[in-house]
Symmetry: C4
Subunit: 202 residues, 4 copies
Amino acid sequence: MRTGRLEAFSDGVIAILITIMVLELKVPLSAPKFGDLEPLLPIFLSYVMSFVYLGIYWNNHHHLFQVVDRVNGRILWANLHLLFWLSLIPFATGWMGENSFAPATVALYGVNLLLSGLAYSLLQIAILRAPGGNRILADAIGRDFKGKTSLILYSAAVALSFLSRTAACAVYVLVALIWLIPDPRIERALATHVQDDRDKTD
Amino acid sequence: MRTGRLEAFSDGVIAILITIMVLELKVPLSAPKFGDLEPLLPIFLSYVMSFVYLGIYWNNHHHLFQVVDRVNGRILWANLHLLFWLSLIPFATGWMGENSFAPATVALYGVNLLLSGLAYSLLQIAILRAPGGNRILADAIGRDFKGKTSLILYSAAVALSFLSRTAACAVYVLVALIWLIPDPRIERALATHVQDDRDKTD
Amino acid sequence: MRTGRLEAFSDGVIAILITIMVLELKVPLSAPKFGDLEPLLPIFLSYVMSFVYLGIYWNNHHHLFQVVDRVNGRILWANLHLLFWLSLIPFATGWMGENSFAPATVALYGVNLLLSGLAYSLLQIAILRAPGGNRILADAIGRDFKGKTSLILYSAAVALSFLSRTAACAVYVLVALIWLIPDPRIERALATHVQDDRDKTD
Amino acid sequence: MRTGRLEAFSDGVIAILITIMVLELKVPLSAPKFGDLEPLLPIFLSYVMSFVYLGIYWNNHHHLFQVVDRVNGRILWANLHLLFWLSLIPFATGWMGENSFAPATVALYGVNLLLSGLAYSLLQIAILRAPGGNRILADAIGRDFKGKTSLILYSAAVALSFLSRTAACAVYVLVALIWLIPDPRIERALATHVQDDRDKTD
């Protein structure tokens, strides 16, 4: 099976998730002044964070399936499993935003990020274990230092939530930055491989 | 007509359905503790079940159209008919979740699954009866034992709902498992055929 | 410009419209019996009608762009204009369903169908007037008897709404049936043309 | 990386945004007369304006990526940045419509358009600065007179909002018209380039 529909379906789900989160920013009725928007600030901030996270996941998903040619049943389900945890992000975001970043809500948000991160790792493993393996992906992620570090940081932030919500949120921002800042080594490795493959095909 | 847009449209509808179900998980306002989430548990469980079912339908739809090259008006409408019943799953899920799996709600959920299953069978028949037929699909589904068993089990579960809700839900879980666990015989049959076809084309 | 993204965008919009209509079927809370669903019946019926209409539009749009190779700015906007009127169908449907098919609501629904039908005709004209024209489409629609009849029937139904809501709705069902029942003459004409073109290309 | 998934994802997000705006047009319950729709008029007008703006953005995005072959991380994030500001348009539209175009709401709408316009300019810059540059785009936009004028007009309209809401809205309509009316010079320039490129490839 080719990857086309899996990519299209995942794009659809992530596009909808990233967009329905904005529905949590409920339009204030009979409230025509800028000051009336103030209570929406925590909801807006939580929206920005989740928008960036879903953007990162889409981005990484996009990169990941650049190097995948065929999918099997296991990869399809590992992908749906990832989409399941991502689908809960609007809820976790809304709960956190509506309750002004209360400790339990910040912790649940971290649990959601942690489970999404785990699901992403499982998806990578499913791809690596597919018949024939995936040498390019194996080289590109190596020991997956970035992925493992993220999981550890999420876990730490969940525990931190009850001590300091600000610190927990700072960790979420930090992990997002780790993924936002491009990693030229990986890009180069990928480029080389793709080039190698093309040379062989031609 | 090629299958591209039919697939894209179905992907879009299923992606939206799988995602709007999560909107039923309404964010509790002024409720910042973990305990505040407890009333959402039945809604969450019903969400998980329907997410898996829609995932199975997407998965099967994906497989089905792997072996279809061209669509006619009948196939287009059989597909829209399937999407119609699937589009009611968020409603049936929400009704069941919001009313803590009350007997009538569990029965209606089963009726929805039954009608979706029937619509899927009709779609397969529409494909098999298209001019030229579809030898690969005919071989792959055989007498469609799995499909027919599912329909019988759904019907049984609808009746069971009024005796034991737990038993009815157990049947829904069982049918989901039947479809989740990969069926290597079919995959092999498909692979052989595709290989045969390729050999002829080359 | 190729038609790929115009088709994908239209598929997306129609898929979302057909799906968000189901959100109007609000899940009744603390209402676990079948009888509790009775008040939803008019909403359900209006949903079925609009699902079929949007299905017909998607189907026709699909057919239409089979014979279009390139789009210009005018076609893009004619298409967005069509999507605009279609985007109001969930509202018109909801208003009609929530108010048990009151005369004014049935009339507005007809106005919405009329404007969507007009927008579709304008889209066909934009395609026919594009540089080079579109001989296949011109032959396939001829004088567009079906399209013009629909517009006349919609107009009649709008007027009828205030005399007999049942009669008006019967007209909407009739027009839907006109489009649902396949028109073998057109399909054959199209097939011949496509065949001709292929012969020339090969 | 190819542009396919970036286009599909952007199409998905814009299709959803353009469609969820219509949810702000809440169906009036127990309100079966035409007069009952009157309070929805400002919401409808704000919907029309935003539909046109999102249509323009989709249209321009479509044109822009016609001349882009490959995307890098920077372009992906510049695109997500644009989608972020566009994702707030339903909120700004709803706030303006629900509060009958109160001055602050008209100003915020303008700020949203301004930030979306800036994000679009940044996306163009990211494309121009990609390795190898983009000669066709550079020629097509030149000094981007239209883009810069729009940003100045948006800024003026934001300030104007507090003096005259009508004048501010007139400016928004004016900018929309500037983009709606096709610019034959650019189309021709693009056509020439594409032709040149094809000649070289062939």
